[in-house]
Amino acid sequence: MAEVTEYPVVWLQGGACSGCIVSMLNAASPTIRQLLVDQVVPGKHVSLLFQPTVMAASGELAMKVVDDEAIGEGFVLCVEGSIATAHPAYCAIGEAGGEEISILDKTCSLARKALAVVAVGTCASFGGIPASEPNPTGSVSVGQALKDAGIDTPVINIPGCPPHPDWFIHTVAGVLLNGLPGPEALDDLGRPLEFYGTTIHENCPRRADFDAGKFARKHGDEGCLYLLGCKGPVTYADCPTRMWNSGVNWCVGANAPCIACVEPGFLDQVSPLYEKINEERVARLLCKTT
């Protein structure tokens, strides 16, 4: 059997719905079996040490895997969900040594030792819904939590509610093939430009309807969804060309406006979701310089 190198990955869940990990299970190429069991790229296997939704172990047995001393170095830390800061009890990830461990403490202690941190999903990348007004739990993004703790481990943001499985798994494959992405490969929000480089609007198959002024005015109508609240013009993602669920469909394909779920303004700056873009609220649109 050819030599296979193990690349350890730890995946924590903070203020999350598990939608990100469930989306990863939809991976079509590489498949999730290839990710968990086979080699994502030849000679390299991702060893998923800790992932609450799929791992066999529970309780103490599981917490020992992410013990700060025992875990060693050289792993990549993935975090799904936002980081609650207002009270440790808002998100406890487990008990160790008779104490409940908060997502904030565990993210920081593991990030200090990790090679890199991947914020999976919009909650981890930007705070997402838990951090939306009035942010009852003082939730912040993973990047913000690490910055506040003075930790400078590099962070890659893979937003989306949830992210497309390709966005995450292809980023992982890229790291295994080429090492960590340099600044030229990421946008100003830490997202890989390969997936988040152009707006939905630029590649939308309904762009011709927009240009011709053919607008849907109520749910169920065909045509450009701009007046129904489509945030495609201010949303950077390749959904129109990549499509979702093995290419079966995507939001606009189902006559549903893009809700900008990959953007830092999700929810507050892009809601009401079904009302036309309010440019004054869409900070991203105003500050984008590229």
Binding site: S18, N26, A256
Partner: protein, 517 residues
């Protein structure tokens, strides 16, 4: 006395902690707790009510569609269009939700629960032609066995050939579960967090191509359910027959029913639904009265005590509250503890004489040589879930063919200044209810009472344990270092903690006064 703390309980959805106190080997005390709080209902207030069906899906990435459905029913009522949903809209909502239910059940049995029964290590010396099993064998040979090891050890009982066959099904189920999401997306746009269900119906109507695309995937999935899922559950049950006698719990069941069969002006729970609504206690079937639902927060980390109707609650988080051990509240029905979920639905429909349910349940019980009472158990819940998936998938074949391309899929509506609505439906894990109150065209209040809030609830104001806690009490734990029985009982409920934990800050209004869609 010895205390076992399992924190986190993994291979469920979300953040859960279980504590049991053993007297000898028997569970004398049990505590189930949710350890994540996000505050969805607070975040929903003041926003456009239409956004609720997108935002509430983000409560749970496993069963978002159930929240979209309950929310859309509540918004239909609040917008005064509950009677106007076109047939295409009604049927497509059923197909989108049905797809999600099948997805959730397959995910639960194979990828969450099966590792408690199936020993993947049996594949180590596999020599056959199955590509998945060869991949697993090579994985084992390399020796880095995460995330499948570590695990509890000492109670893997299946014969080798069944371990191998079930491992092959685990791998096949990864693809089939993905196919269920593809099937849903044909009409629902994308998954997780679909976008097809909207107030008034759905956003996208049927075409012949979409119907064919849906049917092809449904056929693949039905074949897997018939040839793998149901036989695998029965085979596991035959080797764990003692698990047909543990984890019974409160033995009172509640379901809102599912899948409207005709456009109707009737209240949701009085409608002609393919799976009927009701309650079952002491073998007696009764009509559901939503007004009998209360929630207590005596042992929950919120101010107050209860019990109150969900809409009377004035709940504020209180992380350090004395005597509180969970972010989950304690819903009760008619001042008693009730279990919800596929087992509840199957038992209620069985008792109500649902033809397909009787047929499937009787056939399965005959295979096991068991009586209906055996269903109130760990294995009973897995079996109920598998048969539920089969019955729903079979029914969907007819539903998708009753779509009419070219006909409307959505009623017209506008957001009223004032409106109230309630949406009730069975999610993959059981009864989910949404209540919305619209004032000045905005969401003035939004309240959810969801399946795992029922099942994983802590003790109530009368210190009565919740369903999972009751299911644990009296259980004999053979090896406290490897408490298989405890995690198997908990997982049999398919807990979804992200759903269970939420908070409302409503100002009082009688639940009974809400117009039901």
């Amino acid at each position: 006395m010895r205390k076992i703390v399992i924190d986190p309980v993994n291979r469920i959805e979300g953040h859960m902690r279980i504590e049991v106190v053993l007297d000898g080997s028997e569970v004398k005390e049990a505590r189930s707790a949710g350890t994540l709080f996000r505050g969805f209902e607070v975040i929903l207030r003041g926003r456009s009510p239409v956004d609720a069906q997108r935002i509430t899906q983000r409560v749970c990435g496993v069963c978002p569609t159930a929240h979209a459905s309950a929310s859309a029913f509540a918004l239909d009522a609040a917008f005064g269009i509950g009677d106007d949903i076109p047939d295409n809209g009604r049927i497509l909502r059923n197909l989108i939700l049905g797809s999600n239910i099948i997805q959730s059940h397959i995910l639960h049995f194979y990828h969450l629960a099966a590792i408690d029964y199936v020993d993947v290590a049996a594949v180590a010396d596999y020599t056959g032609e199955n590509a998945d099993l060869n991949a697993v064998r090579d994985f084992i040979a390399r020796g880095s066995l995460a995330p499948f090891i570590p695990r509890y050890e000492g109670d893997y009982r299946l014969p080798k050939e069944l371990n191998v066959a079930a491992t092959a099904s685990y791998a096949e189920a990864l693809r089939i579960r993905r196919t269920t999401h593809e099937m849903l997306s044909v009409f629902g746009g994308k998954m997780p967090h679909s976008c097809g269900i909207v107030p008034g119906g759905v956003s996208q109507g049927p075409t012949t191509s979409r119907i064919a695309s849906f049917l092809g995937r449904l056929e693949t999935i039905r074949q897997f359910i018939n040839d793998r899922y149901v036989p695998n559950v029965l085979a596991v049950a035959q080797h764990y027959m003692d698990h047909c006698a543990i984890g019974a719990g409160c033995k009172r069941y509640l379901s809102y029913g599912n899948f409207d069969q005709a456009n109707s002006t009737a209240p949701l729970i009085g409608r002609d639904r393919y799976m009927v609504a009701g309650t079952l206690a002491d073998g007696t079937l009764a009509k559901l009265d939503v007004g009998q639902i209360t929630e207590a927060v005596t042992h929950s980390r919120y101010e107050g005590d209860g019990p109150l109707f969900p809409y009377h609650e004035t709940t504020t988080p209180q992380p350090d509250k004395d005597g509180a051990y969970s972010w989950i509240k304690s819903p009760r029905y008619n001042d008693a503890v009730y279990e919800v979920g596929p087992l509840a639905s199957m038992l209620i429909n069985y008792t109500a004489g649902h033809e397909r349910v009787k047929q499937e349940v009787d056939a399965a019980l005959s295979t096991l040589g068991a009586e209906p009472a055996a269903l109130s158990s760990v294995m009973g819940r897995h079996l109920a879930r598998a048969l539920h998936a089969k019955i729903v998938a079979d029914a969907m074949v007819g539903w998708v063919q009753s779509l009419t391309p070219g006909e409307p899929c959505c009623a017209e509506w506008s957001v009223p200044a004032v409106g109230d609505g309630c949406g009730l439906v069975d999610a993959p894990r059981g009864a989910v209810a949404h209540w919305v109150k619209v004032r000045d065209g905005k969401t003035a209040n939004y309240q959810l009472v969801v399946p795992t809030t029922w099942n994983a609830s802590p003790m109530d104001d009368k210190d009565r344990p919740g369903p999972i806690e009751q299911a644990l009490l009296g259980t004999k734990v053979r090896d406290p270092e490897n408490p298989f029985e405890v995690v198997r009982i908990v997982r049999s409920f398919d807990p979804c903690l992200a759903c269970a934990v939420h908070v409302a800050t409503p100002k009082g209004r009688s639940l009974g006064a809400f117009r039901i869609a």
